[in-house]
């Protein structure tokens, strides 16, 4: 098998994504309007929310591929699930970093038990367990099945965790972004452009990881 970038399709996708991400960065820094009272801190919102979107997409993918793996028993779906899990976890980790960066100037403290942030933290912990199971769960043929079950458990648990945390700490400020779009239509356009460019990054990552996973499988089975 050849290297990832030796395929024209992958090369094109990578270059296209790189350009779009640069444009996105320019838009966020130079074009996006200032939001009163939040100033520069608000701009992390163009990153923070797409990160959450990517993480969600990744984990949703894990759920779907895990079910397919358990039903069809085809290792192909396990490689898909693993690729999505790793990509999703990278983004979950970034949410946990960017959240406090934003919260510090706005709320005065880096960590509050904000429901979405807390849910992400618990989900992140669950996925640490997911990778531990893959590592320590015995031979691949079995640990991959355990991981699939956990991938399902984790995603099904998320809404319950979210509702629980939401009611658990009702006094905590929740995300204020909902109203922001009303200030200036540009905010909305730039936000959606950012969402698009981050989704492209996710697609690149998953494709790259899939390629690596297939190579690894070939090597191990040889």
């Amino acid at each position: 098998m050849k290297s990832y970038l030796s395929y024209d399709k992958n090369k094109l996708l990578a270059i296209g994504t790189f350009i779009i991400v640069l444009v996105n960065l320019y838009l966020i820094i130079y074009v996006a309007p200032m939001v009163p009272e939040q100033e520069w801190a608000q701009r992390i919102f163009y990153y923070h929310v797409p990160l959450a979107w990517n993480s969600f997409l990744g984990y949703l993918g894990v759920l779907i591929c895990s079910i397919l793996y358990l039903v069809k028993r085809d290792p192909k779906w396990d490689i898909w699930a693993l690729s999505m899990a790793e990509s999703g976890t990278v983004f979950a980790f970034l949410i946990l970093i960017t959240g406090p960066i934003w919260a510090k100037p706005i709320w005065g403290s880096p960590w509050t038990w904000e429901p979405r942030l807390t849910t992400t933290l618990i989900l992140f912990l669950l996925y640490i367990g997911y990778f531990m199971i893959r590592e320590f769960g015995g031979p691949y043929e079995r640990s991959s099945r355990y991981a699939a079950v956990l991938g399902i458990l984790a995603f099904v648990d998320v809404p319950i965790i979210y509702f629980a945390v939401n009611f658990w700490a009702p006094g905590v400020q929740s995300h204020p972004q909902r109203g922001i779009g009303g200030h200036d239509p540009n905010i909305k356009y730039i936000f959606f452009f950012s969402l698009f460019s981050f989704t492209l990054i996710l697609i690149n990552m998953i494709r790259y990881r899939l390629h690596a996973g297939r190579l690894e499988q070939k090597r191990l089975e040889a």
Partner: protein, 221 residues
């Protein structure tokens, strides 16, 4: 029928060896005493922490019990006989769930008085409502716990995986159980915490279902 046979098997083994309930109870007593020593404050102040302490204790106790829950299957590989019998994997899961549920309730029955004795828990009139919360929460703990300890059965890292995975998966249930317990102890109106009862109930139903459906993938080698 087979489900009943399997549950009877678990209970008979427990009656013989008393492994689960005794070790869980002794450990529970230790944890409660530890809390009593560590928070050596005025008894009135305990009331605020009590619900959290109760559920932390039973989370630890459950972890200990779950680590032993498949031990008898492993010792002479009886699990292989179970898997090669004409029983649905889902029923094996349900039998383990129900028997562990009974064990943890038994442990609570034996250790709850200590909360009254050392940590000033006022059971009294709250007992019927509290029992309801315990029955429901224990079922949730057992459902998710049996799934994870089933994965630990053939894994050399089983002792690590159970505690690492149990807490995050159970977090909504533990939050809910703590809230409801606090509500009952403060004699609040039922309507104030029925949301939490719904959370625990949803969890119990969903994870019993997921466990029933996926236990084949967990139990087969």
């Amino acid at each position: 029928m087979q489900l009943l046979t399997l549950i009877k098997k678990e209970l008979r083994q427990e009656m013989r060896s008393k492994e689960s309930i005794v070790s869980m109870t002794v450990f529970g007593v230790t944890v409660i005493l530890l809390f009593a020593f560590a928070f050596n404050a005025a008894p009135a102040e305990f009331q605020r922490f009590l619900p959290g302490l109760i559920w932390m204790t039973y989370l630890f106790v459950s972890i200990l019990g779950l680590l032993r829950s498949f031990a008898s299957e492993k010792e002479m590989d009886a699990f292989a006989a179970l898997l090669s019998s004409p029983i649905d994997r889902g029923n094996i899961f349900l039998a383990k769930l129900i028997s562990f549920w009974i064990f943890i309730m038994g442990t609570q029955l034996l250790t709850m008085p200590l909360f009254s004795a050392f940590l000033n828990l006022k059971l009294g009139l709250n007992l019927p409502l509290l029992s309801g919360v315990f029955i429901l929460t224990d079922w949730s703990i057992a459902a998710i716990g049996v799934m994870i300890s089933g994965m630990g059965l053939r894994t050399r890292m089983g002792e690590v995986l159970v505690p690492v995975l149990l807490f995050p998966l159970l977090s909504p249930v533990l939050i809910g159980a703590t809230k409801v317990t606090a509500g009952i102890l403060k004699s609040e109106a039922l309507a104030d915490f029925n949301f939490w009862v719904m959370i625990i109930l949803t969890f119990a139903v969903i994870f019993t279902l997921v466990g029933y459906l996926t236990f084949g993938s967990i139990s087969e080698e």
